[in-house]
């Protein structure tokens, strides 16, 4: 079973994304801040992480950079989920090494499709 890490300080989003991913057969680890995301990523090595860009403490971009800098987690797929839609925010997300970028308000189906597409591309 593929493990996905979901990090978002908004409980609604966290629960909704987790629910949708579990329903699609993923194992989900859900956390509410960047520090916990980093710790869980290092401990459980999920295949993919859905990171909120603005979290207390470490932001999604910080977490993504740290994951990329660590050889143990460098190849983890990262999807940024954020309400910030300015071009420089998107550039910042991709600059930090994110593989995809989904803006809030979001569609749970679209997010799941993107995650599945990323995973299948990574497999081939």
């Amino acid at each position: 079973m593929t493990t996905v890490l979901v990090a978002d300080d908004d409980a609604d989003i966290r629960e909704l994304v987790s629910f949708k991913l579990e329903q699609n057969g993923f194992e989900v680890i859900a956390v509410e801040d960047g520090q916990a995301a980093l710790a869980q990523a290092r401990e459980h090595r999920p295949r993919l992480a859905v990171l909120d860009l603005s979290m207390p403490g470490l932001s999604g971009i910080d977490v993504c950079r740290m994951l990329r800098a660590d050889p143990e987690t460098a190849d983890m797929l990262v999807v940024m989920l954020t309400a910030r839609v300015q071009e420089q925010d998107v550039e910042g997300g991709f600059g930090a090494g994110a593989d995809d970028y989904v803006t809030k308000p979001f569609s749970p189906r679209e997010l799941t499709s993107r995650i599945q597409a990323l995973l299948s591309r990574a497999r081939t």
């Binding site: 609604d12 909704l16 949708k20 329903q23 600059g95 809030k104 569609s107």
Partner: protein
């Protein structure tokens, strides 16, 4: 005397004890109520999450069938969820709220006496994207309370009904008008159908209105309005509006923007406008802008030269070739060569960092 004093002390002690007991009792009651509400909301919340994830028809019926007390307990959280969704998930959940009467209640509350109730109702109708509420929400744009007006603007933006454009623009022109950034985003959310109205408002007598409409056209990517925006850039009597027009042309990214922007970098123009036009030339991404930007690298005005250098960096290989050429230029008697070289070095260093980060 001592008896009277004792009596007063006893009365005061009784008052303190009664008040303390009252406070503790009220807290306990509130805690118990919160617990009860949370328990009541737990089941509908599970249904709501499942429905937001799947939006199957049976799920909608199950949500509509939830008993009123449980729904009331879950509704505030559920409304919060609504604001975080889009697409089919949003439409399906909004339809459930409409079936449960949330839209009708909010429509009535738009005319409530309390400003908090009016603002809350406007927010709910915006989150529901309830198009029928647009005329009433437009009415709130002149509400006597600023916070109500602000929530109404957000709601109109979220609903995205282009016919609201004129009312939003008119509300900008009032004393104690709307915050510009908020209005810009709301106008941009109205979509391409608002372009004609926004374009027409570029002739509005108020400079702030023109500036907001220019920003909104840029955010919309309304390339069809590029010529009108270029006219504002050339002719507007207010320098700040011309600066905004330059930024807007940059966002439009159309080749038609290059010539007007190059003209705006003329040495006779204000520095803020020249710098904004240089930056916009980089955003347009047209190679035709390279020669003009390369000349500006040696500009005596730091802001102009700095923006020109970073615009060249953003233009990719052609721009970076011009930067490398400027980096090698020897300083002339007026040191313009060395100024150009300094700006070129900085921009090239940043380009190198970006390339290295992308490779990682």
């Amino acid at each position: 005397m001592a008896g009277a004093f004792t009596a007063v002390v006893l009365v005061l002690a009784a008052v303190v004890a009664t008040t303390g007991a009252g406070i503790v009792g009220a807290r306990l009651w509130r805690q118990a109520r919160r617990r009860r509400q949370a328990e009541l909301a737990a089941r509908p919340r599970r249904h709501l999450l499942a429905f937001a994830a799947d939006h199957e028809a049976q799920g909608a019926d199950a949500l509509v069938a939830i008993a009123e007390p449980a729904w009331r307990a879950a509704e505030p959280g559920a409304l919060g969820l609504l604001g975080k969704l889009r697409g089919d998930a949003h439409r399906a959940l909004a339809a459930v709220f409409v079936r449960r009467g949330a839209a009708a209640r909010a429509m009535a509350a738009l005319h409530a006496r309390g400003r908090v109730r009016r603002a809350r109702a406007a927010q709910i109708l915006g989150d529901l994207e309830h198009h029928a509420a647009v005329p009433d929400l437009c009415g709130l744009l002149t509400d006597r309370h600023r916070e109500v007006r602000i929530v109404a603007v957000r709601a109109l933006g979220r609903i995205g009904e282009p016919t609201a454009a004129w009312r939003l623009i008119a509300a900008l022109d009032h004393a104690d008008g709307l915050p510009s950034l908020l209005a810009t985003h709301a106008l941009a959310q109205l979509g391409p159908e608002a372009e004609i109205t926004l374009s027409a408002a570029l002739d509005h007598p108020a400079a702030r209105v023109r500036a907001v409409c220019l920003d909104a056209l840029g955010l919309l990517g309304a390339a069809g309005s590029a010529h009108r925006v270029a006219r504002v850039l050339r002719d507007d009597p207010v320098p700040e509006v011309r600066v905004t027009a330059a930024a807007s042309l940059g966002r439009l990214g159309t080749p038609a923007a290059v010539d007007p922007l190059v003209r705006a970098t003329d040495a006779a123009e204000p520095v803020a406008l020249r710098a904004s036009a240089a930056r916009a030339l980089g955003e347009v991404g047209a190679g035709a802008a390279v020669p003009a930007l390369a000349v500006m690298l040696g500009d005596a005005q730091y802001r102009v030269a700095h923006e020109a250098a970073h615009a060249l960096r953003r233009l990719g290989p052609a721009g970076q070739r011009a930067l490398r050429a400027a980096r090698e230029e020897p300083a002339d008697a007026h040191a313009t060569g060395s100024t150009a070289a300094m700006h070129a070095r900085e921009a090239l260093a940043l380009a190198e960092i970006a390339t290295t980060a992308a490779r990682r």
